[in-house]
C-alpha cells in the first residue's frame, strides 16, 4: 500500500511537471520565420522612412516596384487584422470572372472593404476587356455583335 502511494505521488509529480513544462513551451515562436515573412514589408517601411510624407498613392503613381505590396489601413492593434477573402479567392478574381454578381458575393459574404474594392476593380477590368473585344469583333472585323 505504501509503495502504491509513493508510486501515485511520483506519477502526480511527473504529470504536474509535464503540464508546467508544456506551459512554458507555449511561450515560444519562430522569430526567424516571422522576420522572413515580414521582409518585404521591412523594405517598404525603410522606403517610407527614407521618404517622409510619402503615401501609397504616390508610390503607385511613381510605378515603384513596391506597389506589389498590397497595403491598406486596416491594421491597427486588432481593429481589423485580415482581409476576408471569400472561400480563399481574392476579390479581384471574383469581380473579374463573375462581374457584378462576383462583386455582390464579395460584398455580402466577405464584408471586407478592401476585398470589395478589389472585386470592383476586377469587374471594371473585365468590362474593359470585354468591351474592347466586342468592339474589335464588330467594327474591326465587321461581324454582327455576337456572331
Amino acid at each position: 500500500m505504501k509503495k502504491l502511494l509513493v508510486l501515485a505521488n511520483l506519477l502526480l509529480l511527473l504529470s504536474v511537471g509535464k503540464s508546467i513544462a508544456g506551459q512554458a513551451d507555449l511561450f515560444t515562436y519562430d522569430a526567424v520565420a516571422i522576420e522572413n515573412q515580414m521582409a518585404q514589408l521591412d523594405r517598404l517601411e525603410g522606403f517610407v522612412l527614407a521618404n517622409p510624407g510619402v503615401t501609397l498613392g504616390q508610390i503607385t503613381s511613381d510605378g515603384s516596384s513596391l506597389i506589389s505590396l498590397a497595403s491598406d489601413p486596416n491594421g491597427i492593434n486588432g481593429i481589423n487584422l485580415t482581409n476576408e477573402q471569400v472561400f480563399g479567392i481574392p476579390g479581384f478574381f471574383w469581380g473579374c470572372l463573375l462581374s457584378v454578381p462576383g462583386v455582390l458575393i464579395v460584398y455580402l459574404i466577405g464584408q471586407d472593404q478592401h476585398e470589395t474594392k478589389m472585386a470592383i476593380i476586377g469587374c471594371l477590368i473585365e468590362g474593359v476587356i470585354w468591351g474592347s473585344c466586342s468592339l474589335i469583333w464588330n467594327v474591326g472585323l465587321g461581324h454582327s455583335f455576337w456572331w
Binding site: 511561450f27 515580414m38 497595403s71 489601413p73
Partner: protein, 232 residues
Amino acid sequence: MKKLFPLLYGIFLFTFLIGEKGVCQEYSRIRADFAVKIKTISGGQSLTMGQVYYDRNIKQVIYDISFPEKEIWITSDTLVYQIRQGKLISKTATLSMAEFTVFHLALNSQLQDFGLKNSAYAATDVQREQDLVITTWVPPAKNKEKPGNILVSVKNKQLFGVIIQDPEGTILRKQFFENYQVISGLSFPGKIVEINITNGLENYQVTTYKNIVIDELENDSKYFYNTSGLHL
C-alpha cells in the same frame, strides 16, 4: 567616522526618496511613432505607419496615420472613427477598448498582468519555469461559454507573453512584448509580435514603437479629438 555617518545617512535618505518617487510616479500621456506590419495566411500584407497619442484621462487612442494614406483613426469608448481630410469616412464598433490597450496599461502600471488583475478574470495558478513566471487566468464561471483561459508570462518583472485560449484550450492568439525601453522611468515595449491562429493557420502582426515620449506638455490638441460633431 563622525563625518562618514551623516554622509551614509544622506545617501540612504536620497536613495530612499528617489526610490519612493519612482514607485509613486504617475504617468498621463504617451506618444510614439508606430509601424504595424501584417502578413496573413492568404499572403495579404499591409503596412501602416504614423504617430499614436494617448492620454489616460481622456481615453482616446488617436492614430495620426501617414502611410498608406494620411488619415486619423480614433478609438473612443467602443467605437473606431476613421477620418480623412477632416471628414468621417467610417464609424465601426470594436472590442478593443482604450482601457485594455498597451498604452493605458503601461501608463497605469498594469502591463505586467495585462490588466487582468482589475478584470473579472481570476488568477488560479502561478508557476515559475526557467526565467518565466506564468499565471493562468480563468474567466468568471457565468462567462465560461465564450472565452477561455488567458496565460500571462512575466520575464525580468516585465510582461513577456500573453496566450489566449478558447474554452477547449486551443490557442487563438499569442502576443509577445519585446525590446522594452525605459523612458522617464516608464517601461514600454518597443516591439509586439502577435500570432493569430485560425484553424491551425497563423496570421502575423508585428508592431513597433519608436521615439516614445512620456507626459508631453505640448501638443494638447493631438491628445483629444472632438468626435461629437462627426457624421457620416
